[in-house]
Symmetry: C2
DNA sequence: ATTCAATAAAAAATCGATTTTTTTAACTCA
DNA sequence: TGAGTTAAAAAAATCGATTTTTTATTGAAT
């Protein structure tokens, strides 16, 4: 009845989500050509819905439209990653502050719930299964979203989401590297239970300074490792 | 050879620019239906390019796409305007600071040139002609753009441009009001030569505190009047 | 051997018709 | 009278073919 799959029944909507997923997940590699004819046969949509989906994706800068020369997957670059990480931190800080000021009971409950779920999920470690990593990742994202869910600022949230989605592309591309294992674990080790609990407590007690410190450190540390890992990624031939 | 008109030869590109202009200028009013068939005959493009243009516009939130129910011009709202003005100031401050740090000779020359052109154009006053207002408006926008042109931050600039474009819709809608005259002149009076010159000098001398004060006051004053004018606009029946 | 032009192939963009979905209107039955 | 149902009209979405533009190839001339 209220399945998510049913929300977008149109071919265009389906094509959009399929292509978006393929780009973010790296199934369609950065810089790859996006020929409507090819994608049409590959994904099983007509050329028209594909084209319309590509138009939307290029407006979000996930694809690149060159007039009379078709579409390509937007390329990845180290300087862009730096900027995106910076902007993301800025948006998330701002939205978190506003949530701390405007958010009510329901928002607080959402934060507590998201935190609880995150705690119940084992953080990734060298031997953890993909499904476990996946679940933890989802809950981690959900926790961060819960922190900023308390404020009504549609544009701020839109911009935040745009940076998050772009960064996700980089994350997946980087972690695909064969030797990414140790760096990945170094990364997720930073995102420890303690840090998240500190963040939750600071936010709920409306302690802006403490929340700011916690979030900034949290994101800046990961940003540092991220950017460094991308440099290595970009240096490899297959990258 | 290098005309701007020739850069987008495709029907889709033309349709996109035409529709975008019509929405921003208010020729297509907020909330109005955007039926591909109607627009097709009205603007002289096929339904396919129109549809693709609408897809792009809805990704930028100038249009609204509702699955199986077509497109509409995005509505205007007072709270949204407030948020957009806030974000715009934030982006412009940040980009200005970065330009002051990263910008070189060429950037400085651009600022001086844009300022000079603005000074040579008469600021709008009760009796000025539309063409004069238009020219001054263009030069005013160009001056502000020149202030942030010195830094390489594509995403920051993209976000800034998105807010500026959205705010432009509000500006035009508000100033269309029959009794907007006096408020408009009160508005443009704020944007005096003195303020702009102060801004230029602060920026060129790399005085961040002074530049910040000048820009913040400049934008916040206009934002205040803007928001107040929109409340009146929204209250009128025809609005 | 290299540049240029002409041609052929491929790909992108566009059109007009068809299909699907939503909206409107009329109608029946309680 | 009013709620629910069905049929007709309108509009959105999609398809497949056609047109236009770009890219690759070939051959001739310098």
């Amino acid at each position: 009845m209220t399945t998510t799959a049913e929300q977008s029944r149109s071919q265009t909507g389906e094509a959009y989500h399929a292509l978006r997923g393929a780009i973010v997940s790296g199934a369609l590699a950065a810089g790859a050509r996006l020929s409507p004819a090819d994608l049409s046969t590959k994904f099983g949509f007509g050329p028209t819905p594909i084209r319309e989906a590509l138009a939307r994706l290029s407006a979000e800068n996930l694809a690149l439209a060159i007039e009379q020369r078709g579409f390509r997957v937007a390329p990845l670059s180290g300087v862009e990653l730096r900027e995106l990480l910076d902007l993301r931190l800025g948006f998330e800080r701002e939205a978190m502050f506003r949530s701390m000021r405007e958010g009510g009971d329901v928002w607080e409950a959402g934060v507590v719930a998201a935190h609880h779920l995150l705690m119940l999920s084992a953080p990734p470690h060298p031997g953890s299964l993909p499904a476990e990593r996946e679940l933890w990742g989802q809950r981690h994202d959900a926790f961060h979203l819960s922190l900023i869910a308390g404020c009504a600022a549609p544009w701020l949230k839109r911009f935040h989401r745009m940076t998050v989605d772009q960064i996700e592309r980089y994350r997946i591309a980087i972690l695909r590297q064969p030797d990414a294992g140790d760096a990945r674990d170094r990364l997720t080790h930073l995102l420890s239970h303690a840090e998240h609990t500190a963040l939750r407590d600071a936010v709920l007690s409306r302690d802006e300074a403490r929340a700011d410190a916690a979030l900034s450190a949290h994101i800046r540390d990961t940003a540092e490792i991220f950017a460094a890992m991308f440099e290595r990624y970009a240096a490899t031939p297959g990258g």
